[in-house]
Subunit: 395 residues, 2 copies
């Protein structure tokens, strides 16, 4: 599952912002003003009005609120699982000594809290802290297991847990984290905890389906994969949990069924926009920022969204791309030229433009969903800032 | 995790029954009459008074009550996970065609229902069906994952799921089943569902710890493992879920904290008794009944309870056993003699007698716990019959 990048990698806009690329849908982007400092402020720990860095401030506040709950939950695990989880979250080195911590951007818990605040004000935000922690725990359980299945060796610039502790302990730590997340909700006296738990459990099933689809699509021939299939996979694998996070926040705000559905739609569409941009970065991203070699996704013959769009473009480049993807990548210095050529072919076949326009469209849809449930632009500001944050990154 | 055997393998008593071997603890075995037909009957589907086959009847009734709920839950999973789960539960062949079904003995759901009935009568039993299904789903999630980690190739006389569908799909099916179990409880309007879910989630963490301990102990030198460690591992890996099943049944009967704790203790001790007998069968069991080659556990150098007891016995045979376990097993016809010799050495060192006496002691403790919460022998009869059933098997 794609991971959001570290803060320093995400500052400058690298892709068109929603409403400026693609066809803006009528009556959406205008309804909620992007970039407004509308996030209702907390009474305690208020750091003043939010400026252009509103998302960064929201994420920082989320960490301050959620980390103690998250850490206490992980610390409650027995020996081996605790050790693997503390390593995975970046709180410990492999040898068990304390580490500075690089547990990702906490975008999902931030969405839970921002959704709760948008519909229920500051009190709802504080009440949803345990739910926010549960969502982050679920996200990390899926990362631990996905890394085992995908044999990924690096995550957040560190060796993955299975490479350090072995498959069995990484699987067990993931299993224990899933249980921990559901226990956090089962022990939360908030009336929304039970429906939130049911929704989160459903979401786990969808995440599993998404991971299965990803693995299965990667095994197929390049010309046997449709864009609809890859979009559906991305929605299950990335959109589902972002949608669930927003929906859970709405539940904790006591929102009605329609508002919950709208918040879910907002998160899903924002998640898809994020995945599209992530795939663009996976091809044209700066290796210094991504921490991966240039064109790593192309070398791995990954059927990412821009690639599948290019393959189905009906252009002469589509045939060339199919031929390039049809042969295995050889890890030699001499292959660098081929990767650059492949990236150029995807771009010429329209894969890059399509992905950026599609991301903008998805963001417009997200904004539309959001405005249904939160018509007040000020109240919607926090959620919007977060959605923009994850789709506005260096390429 | 050890699996209970098929019905035909379990009829005749092969080990001393509790109270006849080991030191019976005073005031226990006598308090609840083993073998009484005290299980309160259901209003609907009553098959008449329970006789000596009471456990078999209870298990059959459990299947009739729980299977529809279980099957509907599994059928609700998306494509790939549904397929793996249906295969694992024995409802489908690998090619997706229907199978007769050999989904284990349903001992855990039977314990949930029997505990509910013992403390709350027939109405409580019917109300606990979803909880019973959730426990069985959790059990099967752990089996799927344990088989991947242990590289076990056979389960219930069929190839394990990972050998058929690959590691990734087996892991994902397990992940989805864990979510499904918690969702079953989150969607259950019964007031006990939430505390039951918290307890079940806690139990999953303990099951993971038990599986980790098992893997870790197997990697150590034979003389670096203590009996206490193996007993603690068996309690986490096998006792915990049997205890949780009983405790959840008690919760669904509206029982108080002390009764819930007593039922948990009953299940844990019965689970340990089961594991001790299972380990005896793993060494001296009849291959025709176990479905495994004779002495398979010895060939695998498994540090089962009788073996570790023998290693720590201080007898001359202990040293011989350590030497035998210190060298790798060579799979050749000629080795059959060595396995028989190893079994004899474990027996002469007292490993077999110890395990049987310890099983009887654990059963006596279980009965003691049960009588604290359910002093009426008639009401306790069902739980007792189930506990006896799992510890009274062919060797």
């Amino acid at each position: 599952m794609a991971e959001f990048m570290t803060e320093t990698e995400q500052r400058s806009p690298g892709v068109p912002r929603p409403g400026t690329a693609g066809e803006p849908r009528p009556g959406t982007a205008g309804e909620v003003r992007p970039g407004t400092a509308g996030e209702p402020r907390e009474k305690a720990g208020d750091t003043g009005p939010l400026d252009g860095q509103e998302a960064a401030v929201l994420l920082e506040r989320t960490r301050a609120l959620v980390d103690p709950e998250l850490r206490a939950a992980v610390e409650s695990l027995p020996g081996s699982m605790r050790r693997v989880a503390l390593y995975h979250f970046g709180w410990e080195h492999a040898d068990g000594t304390p580490a500075a911590g690089n547990a990702g951007k906490a975008i999902r818990p931030a969405l839970v809290l921002a959704a709760a605040a948008a519909l229920g004000g500051p009190a709802a935000r504080v009440a949803a802290v345990r739910a926010a922690a549960a969502v982050e725990v679920i996200h990390n359980f899926t990362l631990l297991h996905d890394d085992v299945m995908d044999r990924d060796t690096s995550r957040r610039h560190r060796p993955t847990a299975w490479t350090v502790f072995g498959d069995a302990d990484a699987i067990l730590a993931g299993d224990a984290l899933q249980a921990l997340a559901l226990r956090l909700l089962a022990e939360d006296p908030h009336p929304a905890a039970v429906p939130a738990a049911a929704r989160l459990a459903d979401c786990v099933v969808e995440l599993c389906a998404g991971q299965h689809a990803d693995t299965e699509l990667e095994q197929r021939a390049p010309d046997a994969v449709t864009l609809d299939e890859v979009l559906a996979m991305a929605e299950s694998k990335t959109g589902a949990l972002l949608g669930c996070a927003c929906a859970m926040g709405a539940l904790y705000a006591g929102a009605g069924q329609e508002e919950v559905a709208a918040l879910n739609g907002f998160g899903r569409q924002a998640g898809l926009a994020f995945q599209l941009i992530d795939d663009v970065i996976g091809i044209w991203g700066n290796p210094q920022h991504t921490g991966k070699p240039a064109g790593a996704d192309l070398a791995a013959r990954k059927k990412s969204l821009p690639v599948v769009a290019a393959l189905g473009s009906g252009t002469p480049e589509a045939a060339e791309l199919a031929a390039l993807y049809g042969k295995p990548y050889l890890e030699e210095e001499a292959e660098a030229g081929e990767i650059a050529r492949t990236a150029l072919v995807v771009e010429r076949a329209g894969g890059r433009d399509w992905a950026q326009a599609e991301a903008a469209d998805r963001m417009a849809l997200a904004v539309q969903e959001l405005s249904r449930a939160v018509p007040d632009p000020e109240a919607a500001g926090g959620l919007l800032a977060l959605a923009e944050f994850v789709t506005r990154r260096h390429s």
